[in-house]
C-alpha cells in the first residue's frame, strides 16, 4: 500500500524537466517571434531556468516579456531585474498603467485588482511585437479550467481561448502553426504540480524572490485570509495589524495575493510544507478566484493566461 510521497523521489523531476525542455525547443524551432513571460514569480523563474538549460551555451531564442500591473511587490521587481542582468538577455516591460492612461483599460473600481486589466496590455504587446508564441508558467493543476488546457494553446486575434477549437495533441508532436495575427500560448509546466515546482527549485537551487520564504511582516486578517500591509493595502480603521511569520505561495497583483502563515524559511521547509499542505495554491492565496468557481475559465476566455 502506498503512502503519499513523503520521501523525495526525483526521477519524475527529470521527466518533467525533459518534457519542458522539449517543448521550449519546439517553440524555438516552430515559431518566428516567440516571447517568454517573466514576472519574477516562482513559476516563471522555473520556466526561465528550463529555457537556459534548453539553449545554453547559446543565447535564448526569445526575449523575456513582463506585463507590469503596477501592483507588484518591489522585491519581485528587483529580483526580476537582477536575474535579467545576470543572464544578459533582453527584457521587454509593458505597463497596465499606460493602458489605463490611454483609456484602453477602464477598471471596474479605481483601486481594484489589475489582474484582469493586464489581459488588455498583454494583447497590445502581442500586436506591437507581432508575437506568435507566448511561453508561460501556468500549470494544469492550478484550476479545473486549466486541466483541459493544451501545452500549445491556440488564441485568435482577440487572444480568445475557445475550448472547442483547441487542437488535439498527440505523442509529443506539438503544432504551433497559426494564421496571421493569431498566436499560441505555450505551457512547458503543464504537467507540473505546485509540489513538483518546489522540489525542482530546491533540487536545482533556483533563485526565487525572498517573499516565497517565511519572513515576518505586518498583516491583517480579512475574510479568513491574510492581507499584507503595503502602501497599496493600508490597514482600514478598525483593522488589527499583526506581525506574523508568513510566506507567499504566489506573488501576483498585491491587491489579490495573500500570504499564508508559515515558518518555512528554507527551500527544503517549503517543500515539506507544500507536501503537507491542505489548501490548494489558488484557494489559499488568490483572492480573485474566490469570486466565482468559474472565474478562471471566464478570464481565460478573455485572454488571461
Amino acid at each position: 500500500v502506498s503512502a503519499p510521497a513523503t520521501q523525495a523521489p526525483t526521477r519524475h523531476l527529470d521527466w518533467l524537466e525533459s518534457e519542458a525542455i522539449h517543448v521550449l525547443r519546439e517553440v524555438a524551432g516552430q515559431c518566428r517571434r516567440p516571447a517568454l513571460l517573466f514576472s519574477g514569480g516562482k513559476d516563471s523563474a522555473v520556466v526561465l531556468e528550463l529555457a537556459l538549460k534548453a539553449f545554453r551555451p547559446g543565447p535564448l531564442p526569445f526575449p523575456l516579456l513582463h506585463i507590469d500591473t503596477g501592483h507588484n511587490f518591489p522585491e519581485v521587481l528587483a529580483f526580476r531585474d537582477g536575474r535579467v542582468a545576470e543572464i544578459g538577455e533582453r527584457l521587454v516591460v509593458r505597463h497596465v498603467e499606460d493602458s489605463i492612461r490611454t483609456g484602453r483599460v477602464v477598471l471596474d473600481a479605481p483601486g481594484g485588482s489589475r489582474n484582469r486589466a493586464q489581459s488588455v496590455t498583454l494583447l497590445d504587446a502581442i500586436a506591437e511585437f507581432r508575437f506568435d508564441a507566448l511561453v508561460g508558467g501556468a500549470r494544469r493543476d492550478e484550476e479545473k479550467a486549466r486541466a483541459k488546457e493544451r501545452v500549445f494553446s491556440v488564441r485568435d486575434a482577440w487572444s480568445q481561448w475557445d475550448p472547442r477549437r483547441q487542437r488535439p495533441e498527440l505523442w509529443s508532436l506539438y503544432n504551433a502553426r497559426v494564421p496571421e495575427n493569431w498566436h499560441v500560448r505555450v505551457f512547458p509546466l503543464s504537467n507540473w504540480t505546485e509540489l513538483d515546482v518546489w522540489r525542482y527549485i530546491a533540487r536545482e537551487r533556483i533563485r526565487v524572490p525572498e517573499l516565497y520564504l517565511a519572513h515576518r511582516r505586518e498583516v491583517i486578517r480579512r475574510d479568513g485570509a491574510l492581507v499584507a500591509v503595503t502602501p497599496l493595502t493600508p490597514p482600514a480603521p478598525g483593522d488589527t495589524v499583526e506581525y506574523l511569520s508568513v510566506r507567499f505561495r504566489t506573488v501576483g497583483d498585491i491587491l489579490c495575493t495573500a500570504p499564508v502563515e508559515s515558518d518555512a524559511d528554507t527551500l527544503e521547509r517549503v517543500v515539506a510544507e507544500t507536501a503537507a499542505a491542505t489548501l490548494s495554491e489558488r484557494g489559499a492565496s488568490r483572492l480573485d478566484d474566490r469570486v466565482s468557481e468559474v472565474a478562471m475559465e471566464l478570464r481565460k476566455r478573455e485572454g488571461y493566461f
Partner: protein, 435 residues
Amino acid sequence: LNASVTALGDRHQDAHADRGVLRFLTCGSVDDGKSTLIGRLLYDTRSLLADTLAQIEALSRRRGHPGTDYSLVTDGLEAERAQGITIDVAHRYFSTARRKFIVADAPGHEQYTRNMVTAASAADLAVLLVDARHGPVEQTRRHATLAALLGIEQIVLAVNKMDLVGWSSSRFAGIAAAFSAWAGTGAPAAARVTAVPVCAVDGGNLATRSPHSPWYDGPTLLEALESARTSAEVAEASPLRLPVQWVCRPQADSPRLHAGRIEAGVLRVGDEVTVLPAGVAARIARISVAARPRESARAGDPVMVALDPAVDVVRGDLIVPNDPRLHPPLRERRLAMTLCWLSDTPFAPAREYLLRHGASETRARVTEVTAALDVHTLRWSEGTLPPVGRNAIVRAIVDAQQAVRADRYASSRATGGVLLVDGGTGDTLAAGLLA
C-alpha cells in the same frame, strides 16, 4: 492483446524504488464510474486538498448525494457541467512514494473516438472500466482496440461496482475470462492484461485491499500502476533515434551544438553516428543533458551534442547509429499508414496537407484510402468506403514531397507517428500511424 490475464510488470521490484512518471488513460462507458474512480484515487493518494474536498462535499450535499460524490473532482468546464458529460481529454495528477502519475481522462461517449486516440497516443497504460453487472460491452472492446491500435501494451481491466454483485469471485473471473477470450481473437496488437476487482465508491482494491475480496490475490489498481513499464523504458532497448530540434550557435565561430530529445536507444561519447537524410557520418564528441555534461544519455533525455567532424545539421534531421541495419526502415515518399481523422474539417482528396514527423515537415497528399475501420463491429472494410470525417479510422497511402525517414509505428511509437496539418488554418487534421 495477449489472452492471458497476468499480473502487470515485475512484482518483485523494490517497493521503494523511484519509478519516475507513468502516463495512463482511463476509458469506460458513461455509467461505469470512471470519474468516481479517478476522484477516489486522488482522494486515497491524498492528492485532493482541503478546499477542493470541501467544495465537492458541499456540492454532493446540495445534490442530495448520500456520501461524497468523488466524480465531482474531475468535473470540468462550465459548458460540460451543464451537459453533465465530459467532452474532452482532461489531465489529473497524483503521486505515491514511488511514482508520479499523469491521468488522461478520455471520455466514454462513442462519438469522441478522437479524444481517446489523442489520450492513448502518449499513454503507457490504459485502465478500462467495466461494470461488474454487465461485463465487457461493445464500448469496452472498442476502447481496447483503440488502445492497442495506438500501441498501448499494458491494460488494466478494472471491474468496477463489485459491491453490486456481492463481490462475487466467479462473476469477476467470468468477466476477466470473457475479456481475454475476446482479446485473444479480435485485437490488433499484443498487450498484457491485468484484471482487478474494484469498488470505486468505497475505494476497494484501488489504493487499499478490499476486505470483501479475500479470494483476490492480484495487485490493487495502484500496485498495478506503480509497477507498470513506461514507453521510454521500452524504447531504450531500440536503436538510437535523435531528432534534431534546434541547432545552437554559442558564438559565430564556435562549433555548433545539436539539441533534441533521444526518442529511442542510448548515446555515448565516442559513438559513431549517421545524420539523416544526408547520410553523413560523424562521432559524438560531447554530450550534455539539460546543460549538465554527461558521458552517456538514454531515451527520454533532452540532449545537446557536438559532432566530430562538425558536419552540417539542420532542424528536422535525424541522428541514428552508423550502421545501415539500424536505420529507420522507412525512407519513402509513398507511405502506408493508419489515419485517425481528428478534425471537424473532413478529408478532401484534392487537398494538399503538411505532414509532420518529429521536427520535420513536408508537403503531402492522401492519394488512396484503402480500408476503413467500423468502430462498432471493429472490422476493417474495403471497397466502397464512407467519406473520411471526424472520428474515422482508415488505412491510406500518403505521398510526401520529401522522403520521410521514419520507423513503423508498431516498432516505435515515438518515431512512427505523424500528423497531417492544414497549411492554411494550421489545424491538426489527422494522426497517422506508419505501417
